[in-house]
Amino acid sequence: MNAVCELRGVSLAARSRAGAVPILHDVSFQVAPGELVCVLGPSGCGKSTILNAVSGLQLPGRPTGDILVGGAPRRPYNSDIAYMVQHDTLLPWRTVRQNVALAGKLRRVAVDPEALLRGVGLGDEADYYPAQLSGGMRKRAQLARVLAQDPRILLMDEPFGALDFQTRMAIYEVFLDRWTELGCGIVFVTHDLGEAIALADRILVMSRRPATVVKEFTVSLPRPRALRELVHFPEYRELHEELWSALALSEAR
């Protein structure tokens, strides 16, 4: 199988004055092209570290095991990868349009910032600076920016965690629509059960630190998903129950 991203037995210990602190333990999973995999786990379990490891960002220690991106060992700042982190990293001194255009320029991809911004519902805000936008709008802008990079794999670290419910529901729909067009593989880190079920093809439940995959679920809810209707599917409720107990189990470990 030609996974866009594969981890094989990845472990990582942070070196500190107190000695080695294990963060990841024997983490293995694959992401197929066009697949959305949610990594679900308690806060602070090391989920973000997995994404940092895949992206090639600096890690607190040297990982063991294999991390393959597009079949090749990971390397820093791989152009196949786009990474949407938890906090806001739009350049504050650039307008939204310039932020999106910059992503294309650095990636040497021809982009139409206007079209991308219209796609995320920011057609009228292209010339605003990030400080002039609401939190939800900034997330949309960041979404447009990762889309501009035309990645083969998209890493997302609790990207919509800070938003209120209504804003989040609206942005999910935009996100799923654009992803369907783009067709890249996604690793989506979250601690929100409902979010994981609503978005994912597969859900990996992580343990507390050192994080490892304790259980894997396949979400067979049909796509495109009408997010407001999901709660009415029996499967949604069953999965919710199962994830709850799996998470409780991982907490207890």
């Binding site: 650095l106 400080a131 609401s134 949309r140 990079q149």
Partner: protein, 281 residues
């Protein structure tokens, strides 16, 4: 002075200046202070008009302006470059910081005799003095600014495939721009001081040289007229810098400037009219 248009603000400021000049004129005219020590505005401005008509004064003004500007540009460029290198290589700053701190606290005017020895009695020694003042203040401002650069923005640009130059251009320089402009405004004061006082100490031309000549003949009005020229030169440059500062801050929420639309209530796509924070109005 809020709630006043730019013209209203200008009028108030002008009125303050006129009032101060009037008090000065009055104090001397009624004999509270001897004209010998303080002169008076009418005489000073008459002197100023006479001075400005003299080609020799133009030459002095040109010399001082040149020293000031060349020193400012050379010192700023070198200081910013050194600051950027040190910000990028902290070990280098660690190693050199005692030397930098020593040179920074040294009264640079005391170096003038050495500069005269090395660069002569002409403009070179004053330029060197200005550079020695500007360089360190720009270096320290640049370095301080770099320590505050948001690491996550650097990562963001790197993750999008940007190299060192892209990080410098897109993140570091815009992030430290307010520090650079603040440094430049302080440096301007240093540059004016360095060139004028340098000329007063050792020179054969320039406004400082002229000032010493006038004070040697107890020409108080002449001294004050030259100070007016110096003040105008410094003020013009300061206004220029503050315009640059406004532009550099245009993107921030409280920044003023015409190019960006002003912050206002926006309609969120998730429905309803909402405030900037996204809560239902």
């Amino acid at each position: 002075m809020t709630g006043m248009g730019p013209w209203g603000r200008f009028a108030v400021r002008l009125a303050v200046i006129v009032a101060l000049l009037a008090v000065w004129q009055l104090v001397v005219s009624v004999g509270l202070v001897d004209e010998f020590y303080l002169s008076k505005p009418t005489v000073v401005f008459a002197d100023l008009a006479r001075l400005l008509a003299e080609p020799a004064v133009h030459q002095h003004l040109l010399v001082t302006s040149r020293e000031l500007l060349v020193g400012l540009v050379v010192g700023a460029v070198a200081g910013v470059a050194a600051g950027l290198v040190m910000g990028a290589i902290p070990a280098l700053y660690e190693a050199t910081s005692p030397v930098i701190a020593t040179l920074y606290t040294l009264p640079r005017l005391a170096l003038l005799p050495l500069f005269v020895l090395w660069f002569g009695i002409g403009e070179g020694s004053k330029v060197a003095l200005v550079v020695s003042l500007v360089f360190f203040s720009m270096l320290l401002n640049t370095y301080s600014g770099m320590r505050g650069v948001d690491r996550s923005l650097v990562d963001a640009v790197r993750l999008m495939g940007g190299g060192r130059w892209a990080v410098l251009r897109e993140v570091t320089l815009p992030a430290i721009a307010p520090w650079l402009v603040a440094g430049l405004r302080i440096s301007l004061v240093f540059a004016v001081t360095g060139s004028v006082v340098g000329e007063m100490m050792v020179s054969k031309e320039g406004l400082g040289f002229l000032l010493i000549q006038k004070s040697g003949t107890f020409d108080t009005a002449g001294v004050l007229a030259i100070l007016v020229i110096v003040a105008v030169v410094a003020n013009v440059l300061d206004v220029l810098f503050s315009a640059v500062e406004k532009r550099a801050r245009r993107w921030s929420r409280d920044g003023t400037g015409g190019a960006a639309p002003a912050p206002r209530r926006l309609r969120s796509r998730s429905g309803g009219t909402r405030t900037m924070q996204g809560t239902a109005a």
